[in-house]
């Protein structure tokens, strides 16, 4: 089995982290609306998961973060234009940051309502199966979304039809301001897999090798026609539900930052001799340059013509 490309996972995670920080600053400056649901803390596992799949396996992603798009190479400038309502984005001002899309990179968008992605991803798996494709669908959602009815309907449907779907619950313990202790009766969402007769796995969000191996295993199962898997990533939410969330409902902010998987991965790269400090520093500089270029280009893009609101409804 292939091993996890740790340096690349780190590079993309860092790119996503720095880009997201820049988006939050641009929102404070007024260039963008503060609509971001930050994914800080989730990037390493999101990117390790996608690294275990094929580059065009369709993804339906979740609210939290930009790493899904960054991992698939969607241009940063296009993402900025989507957020800023400028020409050059991917959804022509219709969906903003929530609905960045690029089917040519396997990015099939997102449901604004939680749970909505589960059912759509299930149907995509149904189409792949009927078309006898060996692609699979991966769908990321949060622990909050796993309490909605569509979770149950989708997992049961996908299991009974043996659909090629990997359901990924990114469990960071928070549904907006409500902790899992007050919303969810089980500690591990993956336990629910038993109820659908499918494998349930737990992976640690700061262990990219474990994430990679588990997704590779679930992918093999899906491609072999054996059906879906439920993978729970134990994740940490470093920031608020949205970028300007004061998080005054939360007492674990400081302890959460100690669990940040990104510096831990950097330490691992150094310890294993996969990179040295000079290489990491050069990587950081290259990322800053890449982001600065994208921001400069997005600033020059014209605002979307308001009449665009009347297009794209019907085919």
């Amino acid at each position: 089995m292939l091993s996890c490309p740790l340096v690349e996972v780190y590079r993309l995670s860092l790119l996503s982290r720095r880009f997201e920080e820049r988006v939050a600053r641009l929102a404070l400056e007024g260039f963008l609306p503060p609509m971001l649901h930050p994914g800080a803390g989730h990037e390493v596992s999101q990117i390790a998961a996608l690294a275990a799949l094929r580059p065009l396996d369709p993804v339906i992603y979740s609210h939290r973060g930009l790493a899904y798009m960054v991992a698939r190479g969607v241009s940063l400038q296009a993402i900025l234009c989507d957020i800023a309502g400028r020409v050059g984005g991917t959804n022509n001002g219709k969906g903003g940051i929530m609905h960045v899309v690029d089917p040519s990179r396997g990015i099939y968008g997102e449901s604004g309502t939680l749970g909505g992605g589960l059912v759509v991803a299930t149907g995509m798996g149904m189409a792949l199966q009927k078309k006898k494709s060996d692609a699979l669908v991966v769908h990321f959602f949060g622990d909050g979304g796993s309490n909605r009815g569509p979770f149950h309907e989708s997992l049961n449907w996908a299991a009974v039809q043996k659909l090629p779907v990997i359901f990924v619950c990114e469990n960071n313990g928070w549904a907006v301001s409500v902790p899992a202790s007050r919303s969810t009766a089980v500690e591990d969402i993956s336990l629910r897999a038993i109820g659908y007769g499918i494998p349930g796995h737990i992976v640690q969000g700061d262990d990219p090798e474990q994430v990679f191996a588990t997704f590779a295993q679930a992918a093999d199962r899906a491609r072999a026609g054996q059906g879906p898997s439920l993978i729970e990533i134990k994740a940490v939410r470093l920031l608020g539900h949205y970028s300007t969330d004061p998080q005054d409902y939360r007492s674990d902010v400081a302890s959460a930052s100690e669990k940040d998987p990104l510096p831990k991965l950097a330490d691992m790269l150094l310890a294993q001799g996969l990179a040295d400090t000079a290489a990491l520093s050069a990587m950081e500089q290259e990322i800053e340059r890449q982001i600065a270029d994208a921001v400069a280009q997005a600033r020059q893009a014209p605002l979307i013509d308001a009449r665009e609101a009347m297009t794209d409804l019907f085919a």
Binding site: N91, P103, T113, V119, V120, A127, P150
Partner: protein, 324 residues
């Protein structure tokens, strides 16, 4: 030309489209092995196999949501929701996913999905009796077909399946056993073209499906009294053929909508508003609506008959409005 029932016409449209396009799949509760709770899909599983015609669990959210997912990947799913009321059970998937997935992703996808919605009361109680077309009309991104005859049922369903957009296809249960002429040819009706079922100069009446048959019956009695009504079947509510209805109102000077939905903010309310905006100067008498009063549709036949517009109520309403 053969005389077949409305249910047989739907079955024939499904069979012909599945024959024509291998991407068409059909699923829903009881549709495969049992041939549908109303027997509309009888024989299709045997003909096309369980890969393409299959039974689903009682899971309306994923039934419709998976239809959207399958549609954006190139299939043409036809989903039966057993009772049109269940449109509301799957509201997120119908209104947001089917209606908006294309729009909110900037036109990146096509959503060629058909949801078949058996509607109308057979005394099955408040949650199994409604005609919820108004919800669809109120929701951007959805098309809405309301065929009234076997010929239209077949031709509009074929159009719905070939259309690249989500179509809510209402099939009225009280019409399933009605027979009518259906051409053997591959007829497909465009959406947004109303049919003038009866020409007249006294008053325009807009009605569809089961109410249309009652209006046409009432029209015979009214003609004998010298009231010559023009009857229009819109065939599709989204898109709506405003041109035909407004032209008729400009000719007759009045309009009555007879519908099987709830009165407040129903389809009739929208038709009345459009007439006020575009043909007010031509009105010689007030616009009127005959609809379900704002109560759930009950179960007992006597109560059902009381709330659903009857031929007698249609006659009374027309006579009143013509008195001025």
């Amino acid at each position: 030309m053969t005389h077949i029932t409305y249910a047989q016409a739907i079955n024939r449209a499904l069979a012909e489209e599945m024959e024509r396009d291998e991407n068409v799949i059909l699923y829903g509760q009881d549709v495969a092995h049992w041939g549908g709770i109303f027997k509309v899909t009888n024989g299709l599983m045997n003909r096309f196999g369980e890969e393409r015609v299959f039974d689903s669990p009682i899971s309306e959210n994923v039934m419709v949501g998976a239809g959207v997912g399958a549609a954006i990947m190139g299939l043409r799913p036809v989903v039966e929701l057993q009772f049109a009321d269940f449109l509301i059970t799957a509201a997120d998937e119908v209104l947001f996913k089917a209606g908006m997935w294309r729009f909110m992703h900037g036109g990146a996808f096509k959503v060629p999905l058909v949801v078949r919605l058996p509607s109308g009361s057979t005394g099955a109680g408040p949650e199994h009796s409604t005609c919820p077309e108004a919800y669809v009309m109120h929701s951007p991104g959805l098309l809405c077909a309301v065929p009234s005859t076997p010929a239209d049922a077949k031709a509009l369903l074929k159009q719905a399946i070939r259309n690249d957009n989500p179509v809510m296809y209402f099939e009225h249960r009280m019409l399933y056993q009605q027979r009518g002429p259906v051409g053997d040819a591959d007829d497909v009706l465009p959406f947004g073209k109303a049919r003038i079922c009866r020409e007249g100069r006294s008053l325009t009446i807009v009605a569809w499906q089961f109410m249309l048959s009652r209006v046409l019956e009432a029209a015979e009695t009214l003609a004998a009294e010298g009231i010559d009504v023009e009857v229009i079947d819109p065939r599709t509510l989204s898109p709506f053929d405003w041109e035909t209805v407004l032209a008729s109102v400009r000719k007759t000077g009045g309009c009555l909508v007879v519908e099987e939905g709830y009165r407040s903010l129903g389809v009739g309310a929208e038709i009345g508003a459009m007439i006020c905006e575009h043909a007010f100067a031509y009105l010689e008498r007030p616009f009127r609506r005959l609809a379900i009063p704002d109560v759930p549709i009950p179960s007992a036949p006597a109560l059902v008959d009381y709330v659903i517009p009857s031929v007698a109520k249609i006659l009374q309403e027309v006579r009143e409005v013509m008195k001025g």
